[in-house]
Symmetry: C2
Subunit: 329 residues, 2 copies
């Protein structure tokens, strides 16, 4: 009761395996009669192609590997990205293999995997600036794209991302339009696109008013949002707005503000970024910037597929964000 092979199908249809292979691969040059007989034989035997055999001879892997770079963040966004990538890849009959590149051992594992020809392409997620794996991967000659820019490698690794800078500008402009005068910012880590570009967008709008005193750096965590806000409050007691580069950090800032007796948004307006699940669980609910995560994932896959199909190069793309106004600002 072994699984049927192409041989069994051929026997059942009374036709050679070569022809069976042809109909399997949608080749032209197959007589209708043969095609019908074979299709019936396939249905009868319950035949399913053996990918190992197929990929062995085709010298392909039949899969794409998504590499998650460790550090912490319990980013609720990952799930959306993964789902959309799977969907899109599935349409092309490519499977999605997940790997983690958190420490050197794991990075080595990814490299071995990819160099071993086990993947037809690489989908990077949240890769850090200066990650040595990136160049090695790229040097291996395998298609590599990233969901979100890879800082320092923007020109070598194509990517799809949301318009980080533009999104931050939207928020900053909104805060200004609401009459806020002293607007502070809690940025993300400065070796990530979200950390860098959201600050740039903020500075675009505030100009010289975006003084050093009004900028604090966080690491995307709730705790870092709390401490950054505390420092800001100490330095600039009369600030009347703060833009946190993520909803999670914004929720931390909210805690500190409440502890300090500031009312939100009356005394201090608070803006977030991501529109993650956290945004509606805070009090007050966060005014934030929504990223078109699903679209970003789909576009990333599109770039990867183009590369796999042989495109010499593809153009990175930034998708527009939208401002979601709730009660915090």
């Amino acid at each position: 009761m072994k699984r049927p092979t192409i041989h069994d199908v051929a026997a059942a249809a009374g036709i050679s395996r070569g022809t069976v292979s042809r109909v399997l691969n949608g080749d032209r040059y197959v007589s209708p009669a043969a095609r019908i007989a074979i299709e019936r034989a396939i249905a009868e035997t319950g035949y399913v192609v053996n990918r190992n055999a197929r990929n062995l001879v085709r010298q392909r892997a039949g899969s794409v590997v998504m590499v998650l770079s460790e550090p912490p963040f319990e980013d609720p966004n990952y799930t959306t990205t993964i789902r959309n990538a799977i969907r899109r890849l599935g349409e092309r009959d490519l499977s999605l293999v997940m790997m983690i590149a958190g420490d050197d051992r794991e990075r080595e594992q990814v490299l071995r995997y990819v160099r071993g020809g086990h993947a037809d392409g690489v989908f990077l997620l949240s890769t850090h600036a200066g990650d040595p794996m990136v160049d090695t991967l790229h040097g291996a000659g395998i298609p590599v794209v990233s969901c979100g820019a890879v800082i320092g490698r923007e020109t070598v690794i194509p990517y799809a991302a949301c318009d980080e800078r533009g999104g931050a500008r939207q928020m900053a402009e909104y805060l200004v339009s609401r009459g806020r005068k002293k607007i502070a910012m809690i940025t993300g880590p400065m070796d990530t696109p979200g950390g860098i570009q959201r600050l740039e967008g903020f500075a675009d709008v505030l100009g010289r008013k975006a003084s050093k005193k009004l900028i604090e750096h966080g690491d995307w965590t709730h705790a870092s949002g709390e401490t950054a806000m505390a420092r800001l409050l100490e330095r600039v007691p009369d600030l009347d707005a703060v833009f946190a580069a993520s909803d999670v950090m914004a929720s931390g800032a909210l805690h500190t503000l409440r502890a300090a007796g500031r009312r939100v948004p009356e005394d201090v307006a608070v803006g977030g970024f991501d529109d993650s699940s956290v945004a509606i669980s805070t009090h007050p609910p966060l005014t934030t910037v929504r990223q078109p995560l699903g679209d970003v994932a789909r576009e990333t896959v599109r770039l990867l597929l183009a590369l796999i199909d042989g495109a010499e190069r593809v153009d990175s793309i930034a998708l527009p964000t939208s401002l979601i106004v709730r009660d915090s600002a």
Copy 2:
């Protein structure tokens, strides 16, 4: 400049491919001299085994597929589970392929994939009661385990989970110990283990006091927490505590309570479940029940590996939860 094969390694070492294969697979019966020569040749050539070829002859897939059932996809917990599963699987050189089974088409795709022998085992996540795919999968004779019980198939699909019922008991006992008298509950969907068993644990402790009036059903979303709380308040205005089966629903309840002018925890104590990222972003931060998610994922993989290694059957396991006391109760 093709990738080196086992043949190249053999040539470089001046030894037959058979022996090279032996050292590759840690076979005994290889002379130290040969082993050393081969290992050097492997390093020199940069050889990496071709999985397609290996799996073809071994009649294995070399991967495990994790099947995500659609709906509660926003669950921040997925990421932790995925991470831990990848880690554990990686130790055995198995890769993790992700698939989604949200609609019939996708379920069919999963079935084809698995029946096609493309996976050595199946790791189910958040599968619904009555999902037809489960029986088919199990009937296909491939090892299948679930992270969290599959309602109605607890005895046929082995699983690892947290002690849902015990965790709910912890929360209920805590609320009672704090002197709360009228304790309500917002459950999850009653076709999920978390929905059913957390209610059971609640009832274990409250006994007859867990009357119908005090129970509302939610669907894990923030919005359902809001409306459930509203109904509860209308029915039992003098309730003094509420236990929501998830942090997200608890955050919804918090909103409704605030809108109704109830203070938390003074007037109404609120308990959650999961200790997800939402738990610390609410105001006040949630007292909740923590699930040992990483351990659950690891144990699930352990069961699957045992099955793959030929175990006739394995025992499901429930891991203890812990009560995390914050300010909401």
